[in-house]
Amino acid sequence: MRGIRRFLPALFMLPASLSVTLFFVIPVFMTFVFSFTTMSSDTGILGSRYIVSEATIRTLKDGDLDAALVRQLDSRVFAVNEAGLAALRKSNLKPTVVKEIEEKLSGKVYASEKQLFAALKGLSNRPRSFKDRKMVSKAVVQTLKNREFTTPKEFRAGLASIGIEVTDDVFDVLLEVANTSWKWTTGNYSELMASDFTWKILANTAFYVVLTLFFNVGLALVLALVTFYMPSGQSKFFRAVWLIPRVSPSVIYIMLWRWLSFDGGFMSYILGFFGVQPENWLNEFPWTFVIMANGFVGASMGMIIFASAVVAIPADVLHAAEVDGAYPWQQVRRIILPLMAWPILFITTYQTLSLMTSFEYILLLTDGGPGFFTTEVWALNAYHTALSNYYGNLRYGFGATLAVVLVAVGIAMSLIYLRLFDFKKLVAEPQIEN
């Protein structure tokens, strides 16, 4: 049994450590790594890719490479090689024709279709119709354009296939320009500093966090105090009601807010009695709903913490105040609130952190709209940049840079949070010697 006893801690810790390391700790680290890359849906994620595209040709034309070489890169050639012959064998051409092409023209490279056709004319079993000749040219045509190569060696073979032999120096230039895979860069950070959108989104985020914080911490305090002064049955009911948004799946909760605010929904109906035209209120006042939807969820956590803090205040103190003639609101102002400074600080810190980094409710409610960046906050912008947008190019690297800021905020806030606990007590030594 000694053996097992020695390895017991490792055995017990390993699975959890492994899983947390892989999908939690490493992603934190990798966010920083990815933020220094140009990764996007265009560059792909894995390995290198070399492609001669329209854009590559344009860049090369502006460079100091030999113009003839660039034209050659851009051109098509007709090479009778194994791949071309294989395609011919599969085609509808007569086997005798294909056989003669293989015997007589194998290995030949023609610079234009005209030259290829001239060579075909010289054969005894030549393809008669124009259509057949076209079929041959289609089978053996070779171009470099838009073909994908994953290694420099393949790329060189590709060059050779259209009859281009280059020196190593020229090859290096070509490699550099044709390389569409992601590169290391610090450009994301300078772009972030220079972009006007950064300030817009920063302002949005600050607005959202501060207002929602006031809304939900204030609401939580009101709820905790009001339910404290109620019969226990009623207070239990109201606390249960306020927890419903938190236990509901976010999709349902937000769907209900959208119903409440849309032009055929509850608000439009009630306001109709006052002569107000039905309206999609979410589009009219997007921030109000974003703040309310987040605030109603956030309030429940504060409510529970504050309620238990109020109950923990010694009843004697409150009784004494009552005997001395203090009204309930005086009790609240002079006794309860000062004693709750600590829980209030805790909740405020915690909510700041989660508001800054969460985007789920805004994504479902307004998706950053209506219009351009109206309710777009930092975390949502990171998501849009890297994972979902209408422009088509998903910029993973730049999105990661936006996320780095959030991760840094997260780490800082977690450290503060850590200080709020009595850490020494939590790590007290076990009492049985191993």
Binding site: R5, L8, P9, F12, M13, P15, S19, L22, F23, P27, M30, T31, I45, L46, L223, T227, M230, S232, A240, V241, W242, L243, V247, S248, P249, V251, I252, M255, L256, W259, Y269, P278, M292, F296, G298, S300, M301, I304, F346, Y350, S354, S358, F359, E360, L364, A379, A382, A386, L387, Y396, A400, L406, V407, I411, M413, Y417, L418, F423, V427, N434
Partner: protein, 274 residues
């Protein structure tokens, strides 16, 4: 406080500020089984038409049963992983001596309050690199790992309340630490395991962002993504249908909530995930 009498102004005030929640969830139920008039919110007629999604597919949105099946598999797997790994790691952190124990504990505590949603971009890229992108397994592993620090923390808390005497007696009687854990300590923390199971199940059942990003294809669709797809469909503005699907989706969560409210309130109030 039991000696309080009803203070009507307070009660009415609270009813007013609670009105949005009460109205939203009351009409979630009402609209799911009634015909809706466009210019009114009052039900005109009882109908089961909104529940048609149970027997036929809503065009372009696939079968709700696939989504339900996936969600069940997803939530149960998350529960299994979180509960098993947290109850072993929590025990080690609470009761066993090993090198770097307090560092581990600090890390757990740090990650437990870390906003994991900020990691979504690098998790997305990593899953694509290791080939787990767009698989249910991938999302399950990610969700379970992100829930683990919380689970370990809760389980450690429960182990901490088990008296040392129980284990000392076991060890004295010649049982190994493993036997002590399995036969003596584990039965003591069953309430903790139950609470963590319920909590992780609800977290898994409700999860939206992770499956949306990490497993986007139709076969992997979870209930949350299915419902969001309906609500965001520009050609569909049928709140009767949305609410019927929503009610169908929320039933297990509400059952757990109604029956285990006190336990959950303890966990939510324990200064944990917000």
């Amino acid at each position: 406080m039991d000696d309080r009498k009803t203070n009507w102004p307070l009660t009415i005030f609270l009813l007013i500020i609670s009105a949005p929640i009460l109205i939203m969830y009351l009409w979630l139920f009402v609209d799911s089984v009634s015909e809706i008039n466009t210019d009114s919110i009052w039900p005109t007629e009882f109908t089961l038409r909104n529940w048609r999604f149970l027997v036929e597919e809503i065009p372009g949105h696939g079968s709700v049963w696939t989504a339900l099946f996936n969600t069940t598999v997803f939530a149960s797997s998350v529960v299994a992983i979180v509960v098993i790994l947290s109850s072993t790691a929590g025990y080690a952190l609470s009761r066993l001596k090993f090198p770097y124990r307090s560092e581990f504990l600090g890390l757990v505590l740090l990650l437990h309050s870390f906003p994991s949603v900020t990691l979504i971009i690098s998790i997305f890229l990593m899953l694509r690199m290791i080939g787990l992108f767009d698989t249910l397994i991938g999302v399950i592993l990610v969700k379970a790992s992100l829930e683990l620090p919380f689970g370990i923390w809760i389980m450690k808390g429960f182990y901490d309340t088990v008296p040392w005497e129980i284990e000392m007696a076991g060890v004295q009687d010649g049982a190994s630490r493993f036997q002590v854990w399995y036969k003596l300590v584990l039965p003591q923390i069953m309430p903790g395991i139950a609470a963590l199971s319920i909590f992780s199940f609800m977290a898994g059942w409700s999860e939206f962002v992770l499956p949306l990003i990490l497993a986007p294809s139709a076969d992997m669709r979870l209930m949350s993504v299915y419902l969001a797809g309906l609500v965001n469909d520009d050609y569909l503005s049928d709140y009767g249908l949305f609410k019927a699907v929503g009610l169908f989706y929320i039933i297990p969560v509400m059952m757990f909530y109604l029956f285990t409210q006190d336990k959950l309130m303890n966990i939510y109030g324990g200064g944990t995930k917000g």
